[in-house]
C-alpha cells in the first residue's frame, strides 16, 4: 500500500522537488511550515495541479505519467479543504449524497447509515448549509468525502480555519476515523498538536522537499524533531479517557506485561472526547522532585525512573523518564536543577505534571 510521487515545480522563488514513496495506511501527516509546498504536493497527488511532467501512482494504479493525467473524478479520492467547500445550492443531505450517488454500487463500501453516526450528522441533515458552524461544515465535508468510499482521503489543513472550540469539537471525530473506515488519509498540517493527536506516521517537509518519513513514535523520540520546534519536546502517551465522577476525568494508560497502568487526572474533558487515545504532555510542563512534595497544587505526581539526560541547549536539559507502565515521559528542566538534584540515569524520582489535557 503506497503512494509514489515524482514531481518538480519551479515558480519564481518557490520550488518543489519530490521523489518519494509515502505510506498509505492509517493517517500520514504532511508536516511543515507554511510555504514549504505541502499543499502543492497534495494538489499534485489529487491531480489539481496541471503539471507537464510528474508521476503519481497509488497502490500500483497510475494517476499521472508525464502529461497524461487520470481525471480526478476517476481517482476515487476524498478531498477536504481548509475552508468550507460544501456546495451552497444543495442541502446537507444532498451534499452528503452527491458523491455517494456517483459511486457505483460495486465500489460502495461505506454507506450513509454507517457514516452518519460516525460524524454525528443525523441532526444536520435538514439544515441549510449556510446555517452550519465551521466545525459542522467540516464534519459534513468529511462525511461527504467518505461516502464516495475513497481509496485515499486528502485533507488539506482541515482544522486550521476553525477556532479552538470547533477544533475541540471535530478532533475526536477525526481521530480513529481512518481505522474505523479503513480509508488511508494524508493530512496536511502545520500544527504539531494535530500530528501528535492524529498521525500514525509523519512526512516532514522543508523548502519543497520531503526530508524524512517516519512513524510518529520514532519522530517523538528525536529531541531535535521539527515537531518540537515551536513548543519544545512533548510526550504522547497512549491510553483511554474515563469518567470517575461529575466532570472528573482520568486518562488511564494500558499497562500490561506485568506493568501497572498509570492514571492521570485530566481537566476540561467530556464524553465527546473518549475517542481520543493520546495524551500530550509538554516536556516544559513536567518538573522533577527527589521526594513526593506535600501541600502542592499539582495533582499528577508520577514515580518515574530517570533513563537518559540530554543537554538541549546551554541552560536546559531534556530528561527521559520511564513511567511505571513502561512508556517514556519527557521533562525539560534547567541544567542547574540537574546539577543541584544530582540527577543521574537510574535514579528514582517523582515527575510533577503541571497540566494534562487531551486538547487545548
Amino acid at each position: 500500500m503506497t503512494l509514489q510521487v515524482r514531481a518538480r515545480v519551479q515558480r519564481g522563488d518557490f520550488s518543489l522537488t519530490i521523489n518519494d514513496t509515502l505510506p498509505s495506511n492509517g493517517i500520514t501527516a504532511l508536516f511543515g511550515r507554511s510555504g514549504c509546498g505541502k499543499t502543492t504536493l497534495l494538489r499534485i497527488i489529487a491531480g489539481l495541479e496541471k503539471l507537464r511532467d510528474a508521476e503519481v501512482s497509488f497502490n500500483g494504479e497510475v494517476w499521472q505519467a508525464g502529461r497524461r493525467r487520470m481525471p480526478i473524478n476517476r481517482r476515487r479520492l476524498g478531498l477536504v479543504f481548509q475552508e468550507s467547500s460544501l456546495l451552497p445550492h444543495l442541502s446537507v443531505e444532498a451534499n452528503l449524497m452527491y458523491g455517494y450517488r456517483r459511486t457505483t454500487e460495486g465500489q460502495r463500501r461505506l454507506h450513509p447509515e454507517t457514516v452518519r453516526p460516525l460524524l454525528a450528522l443525523d441532526d444536520l441533515l435538514q439544515q441549510p448549509v449556510h446555517t452550519l458552524s465551521g466545525g459542522q461544515r467540516q464534519r459534513v465535508a468529511l462525511g461527504r468525502a467518505l461516502l464516495t468510499s475513497p481509496q485515499l482521503m486528502l485533507l488539506d489543513e482541515p482544522l486550521s480555519a476553525l477556532d479552538t472550540t470547533a477544533k475541540r469539537e471535530i478532533l475526536p471525530f477525526l481521530s480513529g476515523l481512518s481505522t474505523t473506515t479503513g480509508v488511508p488519509m494524508l493530512l496536511v498540517t502545520h500544527s504539531a498538536r494535530e500530528v501528535e493527536q492524529l498521525a500514525d506516521q509523519v512526512a516532514f517537509m522543508e523548502q519543497g522537499r520531503i526530508e524524512r518519513v517516519e512513524p510518529l513514535r520514532e519522530a517523538l523520540t528525536r529531541p531535535e524533531s521539527p515537531l518540537f520546534s515551536d513548543e519544545g519536546p512533548a510526550t504522547v502517551l497512549q491510553g483511554d479517557l474515563r469518567e470517575t465522577g461529575e466532570g472528573q476525568w482520568q486518562f488511564v494508560t494500558p499497562g500490561g506485561n506485568g506493568r501497572p497502568s498509570v492514571v492521570f487526572q485530566v481537566s476540561g474533558q467530556s464524553s465527546h472526547h473518549t475517542s481520543l487515545h493520546r495524551l500530550r504532555i509538554l516536556a516544559s510542563d513536567v518538573s522533577l522532585a527527589l521526594t513526593q512534595p506535600q501541600g502542592i497544587s499539582i495533582r499528577n505526581m508520577m514515580p518515574v525512573r530517570v533513563e537518559r539526560i540530554e543537554q538541549s541547549d546551554e541552560h536546559r536539559c531534556t530528561i527521559s523518564c520511564r513511567l511505571a507502565d513502561g512508556q517514556l515521559l519527557l521533562s525539560r528542566i534547567t541544567l542547574q536543577s540537574v546539577v543541584e538534584l544530582g540527577l543521574a540515569p537510574g535514579d528514582s524520582v517523582v515527575a510533577l505534571v503541571k497540566s494534562a489535557a487531551l486538547m487545548e
Binding site: 480526478i72 473524478n73 479543504f81 456546495l87 445550492h89 452527491y98 458523491g99 456517483r102
Partner: protein
C-alpha cells in the same frame, strides 16, 4: 396599435430566429471560453481577451466587410464550402448567423467570465473529487451556481443581436425572408420615406430593448461591466 404588414412580420420572424439561434450557439461556445479566460493563467490569455472584446470597439462595417470577403464566393471560407459542394455564405441567413455569433461574442463571454471568477474553482474541484465528470459538473454545479451570469449573458446576447445593423447590411444585404431583419427593414422604410412604417417598428424595438435592460439590471444589480 397600427397594423403590421406581412413584410414586417417576415422581418420579425427572421430577426427572432437569428437572435434565438445566435444566443443558443453563443452560450455553448462562450461557456468553455469564459471558463478558460476566468481560470487559466496563460500567456495567450491576453490575446484571446482582446480578440473577444474586438467586436465592442470595431465599426460593424469593418467586421461586415471582412466577413463578406471571408465568407463570400472567393473568400477562404466560402471557397472551401463551395469545393465541398455547399454554397458560400454571403447574402444568406447562415452568413448573418455566423456574423451575429462573432458580433455578440463579448456580450455572452463577459458576464460569464465575471460569474465564473466569482464562483472560483473550488466547487468544481470538489465535485470532481466526488466523481462528477465535466458535463456533470457543468449541469450540477456551474449552471445552478452561476444561473445569474447565464441569464444575463443570454439576455444581452439576444438584445444585442436584435440591434445588429451594420454587419448584416454589409454581409447579408436586405433579402426579405432571408437576411432582412428588423433593423435593416427600418432603414429601408426610412430610405423610402415611409416614416410611418419605420416608426411603428422603431417604437416596438425601443420598448422591447428598454424592457429587456430593466429586467437584466433588476435581476443582477452587480452587473455594470458591459454596456451595449
Amino acid at each position: 396599435m397600427p397594423e403590421l404588414s406581412p413584410q414586417d412580420w417576415q422581418a420579425i420572424a427572421v430577426t427572432l430566429k437569428l437572435c434565438a439561434l445566435t444566443t443558443a450557439i453563443l452560450l455553448v461556445l462562450a461557456t468553455p471560453l469564459a471558463w478558460w479566460l476566468a481560470h487559466r493563467q496563460s500567456p495567450s490569455r491576453t490575446v484571446v481577451q482582446a480578440l473577444v472584446a474586438l467586436p465592442l470597439v470595431l465599426p460593424p462595417t469593418v467586421l461586415g466587410f471582412y466577413l463578406l470577403i471571408a465568407l463570400g464566393p472567393r473568400g477562404p471560407v466560402g471557397q472551401t464550402l463551395e469545393s465541398m459542394g455547399l454554397t458560400h455564405l454571403a447574402f444568406s441567413f447562415e452568413g448573418i448567423l455566423v456574423a451575429s455569433v462573432i458580433y455578440s461574442l463579448p456580450f455572452a463571454v463577459q458576464p460569464l467570465v465575471e460569474a465564473f471568477r466569482h464562483l472560483g474553482t473550488r466547487p468544481v474541484e470538489v465535485a470532481a473529487s466526488l466523481g462528477a465528470g465535466p458535463l456533470d459538473r457543468l449541469f450540477t454545479v456551474i449552471l445552478p451556481l452561476c444561473r445569474g451570469g447565464f441569464i444575463v449573458a443570454a439576455t444581452l446576447t439576444f438584445a444585442h443581436t436584435l440591434g445588429e445593423f451594420g454587419v448584416i447590411l454589409m454581409l447579408g444585404g436586405s433579402i426579405p425572408g432571408e437576411t432582412q431583419v428588423l433593423s435593416v427593414l427600418i432603414y429601408d422604410y426610412a430610405e423610402a420615406m415611409d416614416y410611418a412604417a419605420a416608426h411603428r417598428l422603431s417604437l416596438g424595438l425601443l420598448i422591447f430593448a428598454f424592457v429587456v435592460l430593466v429586467a437584466v439590471y433588476s435581476f443582477n444589480r452587480r452587473f455594470d461591466g458591459v454596456r451595449p
